[in-house]
Amino acid sequence: MNEIGGAPLFFLEFGDIVIYFTPFTLTLFLLALVFSVFVLVSRPERQIDIAFGGDAYYAKEISLSELRFRRFMSIACGLACMGAMVTGDVFDFTLFVSLVGICNVGIVAAVRSRHVQNAAYQYGLVALAGTVPMFAAAAMVAATTGTLSMLELAKGTATVPVAARALLVLGVMGEGMAPFYAAKAEMFRAPGAPYVIMCSLSSLLIFLRVAEVILLI
Amino acid sequence: MNPEFILGFLLLLGGTIASAFPVPKTYLNRLINLEIPGWGLLLLMLSYNEALALLTFGGVSALSVYIFVRVIQKKEATG
């Protein structure tokens, strides 16, 4: 089944790790790029909170150092996403995904709200625990098939054990956490729209990519 | 299957149980028990002749102990 995301358009070879673009991964790559550019050029919004029981309202401001740090983290997250979208190596993919996880933690860790930090910590723990099934999956792929390259695995000469695929999905779930939505939503209450959007974008992107990967290998 | 392999896995299993359910359950106790599966892993790497991984694991696990001790000390300083 080579036609999962369309035929590869071109390859970029870094030794054993071959980066390749299919129409599918190219679409995702471009979206990650577009949102990274948004992060780069846009100022954060000033979130308005209304004090109930009166007409008072106040805007939350983000300090300059916090802004710089979170922008840096968001861009790193965008780059990690782009890498995860196009890499053609299972272990490299897991590394990019863990980079996405730690960047997501970083984006919200700088927020001063105790509530958000709590959510960030819980999410960080899940992200760290998620690396375990992911690395285990990559190691099992290497041991049972003798290769890590998705292009080789897609040829179908060696069968990847179902357990390894399931572990890979579980690990990416830990990093991206779509069904365990709670902490991510709490992280979203933090001000700084362009940055928190990157959290959500990255988890959607790695989900889409892992779906392709497990269908491919 | 050489002795290092068997011993490594026994230590890994025993150490995991010991640090998963330490008695009494204190931070330091658990941290010290964490060293046992670490040793198991070292023996396992030794049985596969992975000298460099072994060396790095040694360095890195020492570092992680520093990190944990720092956190525990700060927490305990509250009293």
Binding site: E13, L95, G124, L128 | P37, L63
Partner: protein, 200 residues
């Protein structure tokens, strides 16, 4: 077909099972962090079971991811619990406080690390510096450290591109990469040491 690999895998996943079960019932945040560190060990064991040179090349990144996230999370923990302000005076062990032994151990580790160079060397030499900074309660500014680590990262990436696009210069690339990554890991590790001496 119960080969050595499958037996090892069974044992490693049994460890993971036990550790994850402990994690299910754990409510304390710091205990959770310790248990997550325990779980990482099982993952490393699974990677080690490949038993080729590749497995070593995979263990090193795996280790680094673990320690890096651990450091970040421990710092988040301190901030979120409000323990950041608490004064902790160095390491409360008499022997290494202000004694020449610290310097000697640190020097040995650093020199050995530099001889090793590369990845492992960075970790070992970094450990030496951590040791030194811990006992000396260093509280200088990080800018120098961060700049050094940034430069070494750039050096390493440049070396990587030389390997890929101008392979005839492999010797240069090898030296650049080895030194770059050594510097990079040392500077990052020494941050841990610097964090110890934060009573000021």
């Amino acid at each position: 077909m119960w080969n050595e690999y499958s037996i090892g895998l069974a044992a490693a996943f049994a460890c993971a099972l036990v550790a994850f079960l402990a994690l299910v019932w754990e409510r304390d945040d710091l205990h959770k962090l310790l248990l997550v560190d325990l779980v990482e060990t099982a993952a490393l064991a699974v990677i080690a079971l490949i038993g080729t040179d590749l497995s070593e090349a995979l263990i090193l990144p795996g280790l680094v991811v673990g320690i890096a996230e651990l450091l970040a999370l421990s710092q988040i923990y301190l901030v979120k619990e409000g323990y950041q302000q608490h004064r902790v005076k160095g390491l409360n062990i008499e022997v290494i406080m202000r004694s020449p032994a610290t310097v000697i151990i640190a020097t040995i580790l650093a020199v050995y690390g530099i001889i090793l160079s590369g990845f492992t060397g960075g970790a070992i030499a970094g450990l030496g510096i951590v040791f030194l900074l811990m006992s000396r309660s260093f509280s200088g500014d990080f800018h120098v450290l961060e700049m050094a680590s940034g430069i070494s990262w750039a050096l390493w990436v440049a070396a990587f591109f030389v390997f890929m696009f101008a392979p005839e210069w492999w010797y240069l690339a090898l030296m650049g990469a080895a030194i770059g990554i050594l510097m990079k890991v040392i500077t990052k590790m020494s941050l841990v040491g610097a964090m110890w001496g934060d009573q000021e």
